[in-house]
């Protein structure tokens, strides 16, 4: 019985959750925790207690909405939509207190304010895998508007189709592609110095 259940698809697990099966939720968490946690961390600027809290909230929402879930779209699209809603609300409330885009975490998890970044004195191409590169990428990512950041993450890391990304963001497919285009241009401008080949 247990081995049969191990192979259950996401939709089956959600149906079991709708009937109050907590074990189904646990299985779903184990399957998708890295996807949700990684997305949240990327969106809010780093891993930590906030990312953990938000990722937990995503799964609790999924649990509560399971009984009304209709599998019209892929489960991961629904999961990412719930994640987006929570992350965007979190960032909006945080930006009321401070300018969220101005904050980026360094390697030690400490916040770096934009405009107060240490000046890179040596040629960044000398150490492309070094801290400077990671810091520059984090900073470039933090400068991207929320929707652009999410599109890039979902496309590059989650390898989602634009039709799915469009559903997650509540925009048209063309709109999602346009966000990707603008994100790419923004990133090119910010990370130009790290390009190994001339543009």
């Amino acid at each position: 019985m247990a081995s049969e259940r191990e192979g259950d698809g996401d939709d089956v697990l959600v149906a079991r959750m709708g009937q109050g099966d907590e074990e189904a939720l646990r299985e779903l968490i184990v399957r998708h925790q890295d996807r949700v946690y990684g997305t949240v961390a990327k969106m809010i600027g780093g891993a930590g207690p906030d990312a953990e809290d938000l990722a937990q909230q995503v799964f609790l929402r999924i649990w509560r909405a399971a009984s009304s879930y209709r599998s019209e779209a892929k489960f991961t699209t629904w999961l990412m939509t719930v994640t987006r809603n929570l992350v965007f609300s979190f960032c909006e409330s945080r930006s009321r207190r401070r300018e969220v885009s101005d904050v980026v975490l360094d390697e030690e998890g400490e916040e770096l304010e934009i405009g107060q970044q240490p000046v890179i004195e040596r040629n960044p191409r000398d150490d492309l895998s070094g801290k400077e590169l990671v810091r520059a990428v984090k900073l470039a990512c933090a400068h991207l508007p929320m929707k652009q950041r999410l599109v890039v993450h979902l496309r590059e890391h989650e390898e989602m189709e634009f039709s799915e990304i469009a559903q997650v963001l509540g925009v048209s497919e063309l709109g999602a592609k346009s966000l990707m285009f603008r994100a790419r241009e923004n990133l090119k401008n910010r990370l130009a110095e790290f390009f190994t080949e001339p543009k």
Binding site: E22, L25, R26, I29, V30, Q33, D34, V36, Y37, G38, T39, A41, K42, G46, A47, A51, E52, A55, Q56, F59, L60, W63, L128, S129, L133, V134, V137, K138, C141, V152, H153, R155, E156, H157, E159, F162, K177, M180, R184, L187, K188, L191, F194, F195, T196, E197
Partner: protein
């Protein structure tokens, strides 16, 4: 089907993609599932009140009892002013008559 990075129209492209990947995506901590399940149970427990009944059921029952009590109180028979003063007048009149007979 896994897509390749050669279609720059849809993706970051090889150069930007490599740079983007330099900042790896965080993985969930090992305790994540256990903590989420514990939080779920804690929140479900919080939603329950006495005798394992959901809190909303207890609040609803309490509100219903108060509403019924209030309605019953409101529907009690009332004595109008005219009736009340007529009864008092009758008592005063009767008292006066008794006093007259008693020679007071």
């Amino acid at each position: 089907m896994k897509m390749t990075r050669n279609d720059e129209g849809d993706r970051l492209g090889p150069e930007l993609g490599r740079l983007w990947a330099a900042d790896p995506v965080a993985k969930a901590p090992p305790w994540f599932a256990a903590k989420t399940m514990a939080r779920l149970r804690r929140e479900e427990e919080k939603k329950r009140g006495w005798l394992g009944l959901p809190r909303w059921a207890l609040i609803g029952t309490g509100a219903a009892i108060l509403a019924v009590g209030w309605l019953r109180w409101e529907s009690q028979p009332t004595v109008g002013d005219a009736e009340l003063f007529a009864a008092l007048d009758a008592m005063v009149e009767e008292d006066r008559e008794i006093r007259w007979w008693a020679g007071l």
